[in-house]
Symmetry: C2
Subunit: 348 residues, 2 copies
């Protein structure tokens, strides 16, 4: 079975996605037909330039005073973590890995903006994937388009959610997929994506981790990691594509299908550019800040079609890849053993 | 593995295709965007009415004198078989099944038309899947559109081939798939399709059969079946969805995944209607004649995209379904046994 799954990884690249690891680039927004035919229907990403040149955001949002003045009385959702990794795997109090969500606090925007800087003792990321651009950030509505015209016409609906992301260098988003067609527009700074097609699901080593929540004490400034009770298992990718140098060898051994398989697609999205990130693609996101230390982006989630591609994905995911199973089993035994060892240090 | 494949058959129906076995119907031609979004991208068939109302063919082709006069000096490819089943499985001279192609002869059109009638001692089918409408039948070009406008715009290309089909009741086309997006327009008579999505590939029991060719002697009026030499194996579906009553029980036992799985999608395409038959769908075709005993249709083949859907299909097909393997093995043993028995009668 491994050989057949590996053939699938290679075939989708050779037939359709390309083997270079680079994405198609369009110098201007596609027509709705072109977008649908060449990208959405084929579940194929691309980078689009010159689609947002007319957005006032591209100039206005480089000014802190503009933003704080426009949002002077707005409360925004601020995600706090000790290290910038929210919705990611971290060692739980009992030392095995858990799936940790950020401490979220509704914060007056001017205060939030002050906290999003890379010299703070914790990492703040203003974001909320609940259509926040059109609610918390509504005073900025005129600075961007409320939808992406070519996508709205192609997909036949308005976006289900438009989300704002204001972060700094240390915030990263771990590998995951969304059940949406995603148009991701960068306004200031840069976003760096690693992408894997849905065919590569076994390379993500998805397994269940218990959910946990960071709690941040405003008094002590300390974080506490609280396991959800009753325990709630969250299926999540085990792979960190950028392990610390000292962990690299171990990670390569643990996740050989990821590290030894075809290289992920890579791209950097600059201000004024937009990524079409197709539904069900696994993505990992880092960011580089602008001169003020921040990256600002707006993304548009459109409903996906649950069609034959989705049914095929579920079938593929249901198939056990014996080398992964044995790998995971070996790892579990190793972890159980390690958890008795006081010297153990986890890699996150 | 069988359970997972069966889940796939059901899921693609529950999510996307519907479970009734009926196809979506459109009362007018879709816009290119709608066609691409709702059907091609989703690899989902539909029946379209009122897309060919303006074709002179719909009235002109009901007249034999019009056709013979327009094509009085044309040679057309006429496919001759003893029973109407070309490109299908029939007993070879050694009694095991082979894949038999028709005897093809270039025939003056007026003579061809005389031969296409259900009281002849053999079955004649005027067709050739090599863009014959635009070559052999070019005098009729003005009677139909040279392409289907909404499809050409949606798919971004002109058809790769436009084919003419003039047949009678006894001609059937056995289960197979094409690597094309297919728009199939009926002009006179009716076509009856059975359709299975590409996800159901294991239900087709595709195995290799040796290629053979009918030779028709104009002197004796007899057919001879000649095996290709050297032997050429052709992968083909083993399933006849309409076995003779006396063979039914045996066929049900041989091909339980077909006969006991979800019912195929069924449709009848009437004059003036068009079927969108998505690439890679398995289809079986029968026809009912008009008052002159004939069915005439024109189909448009557009290039398909070899994208993630195609890669998923190849992966699915590469997976062995143990119950099929054991079934096939049992069947082979049975056949070997039967071939020693003088009472043996094959079902075709």
């Amino acid at each position: 079975m491994e050989g057949k799954i590996e053939t699938l990884w290679n075939e989708v690249r050779e037939l359709n996605l390309g083997t270079s690891g680079d994405l198609d680039r369009l110098d201007s927004p596609p027509t709705p037909l072109q977008f649908l035919r060449d990208f959405v229907s084929q579940n194929k990403p691309c980078i689009i330039s010159n689609a947002t040149n007319h957005w006032p955001a591209l100039t206005r949002w480089t000014s802190d005073s503009y933003l704080t003045s426009a949002l002077s009385s707005s409360l925004v959702s601020l995600h706090l973590t000790p290290h910038g990794r929210a919705d990611s795997l971290v060692p739980s109090p009992s030392s095995s890995l858990c799936f940790a969500s950020a401490h979220v606090q509704r914060t007056p925007f001017p205060e939030a903006l002050r906290l999003i800087k890379n010299d703070a003792s914790f990492v703040a990321y203003a974001q909320q994937q609940n259509n926040c651009f059109q609610s918390e950030y509504s005073p900025l509505a005129a600075d961007c388009d409320p939808h992406i015209p070519f996508a709205t016409e192609a997909l036949g609906c308005r976006p289900e959610a438009v989300n704002m992301w204001i972060g700094e260098e240390r915030s990263t988003t771990s590998f995951h997929k969304d059940h949406y067609e995603n148009l991701y527009a960068v306004v200031t700074g840069q976003k760096h994506f690693l992408l894997l097609p849905p065919t590569d699901v076994h390379r993500m080593y998805i397994r269940e981790y218990p959910a946990a929540q960071y709690r941040h004490s405003p008094v002590t400034g300390e974080f506490e990691l609280e396991m959800e009770s009753p325990a709630r298992p969250v299926p999540w990718s085990s792979v960190d594509p950028y392990p610390a140098p000292e962990d690299r060898e171990e990670q390569l051994k643990k996740f050989p299908l990821f590290f030894n398989g075809p290289r992920p697609f890579r791209c950097t999205i600059n201000p004024g550019e937009m990524l079409y990130l197709p539904s069900m693609w696994f993505h990992h996101v880092r960011q580089s800040p602008d001169s003020r230390g921040r990256t600002i982006a707006v993304n548009y989630w459109y409903d996906m079609q649950f069609d034959i591609k989705y049914a095929y994905f579920n079938f593929l995911q249901s198939i056990q890849c014996a080398s992964i199973e044995s790998q995971m089993l070996a790892e579990t035994v190793q972890e159980d053993f390690d958890s008795d060892s006081p010297e153990k240090t986890e890699d996150e």
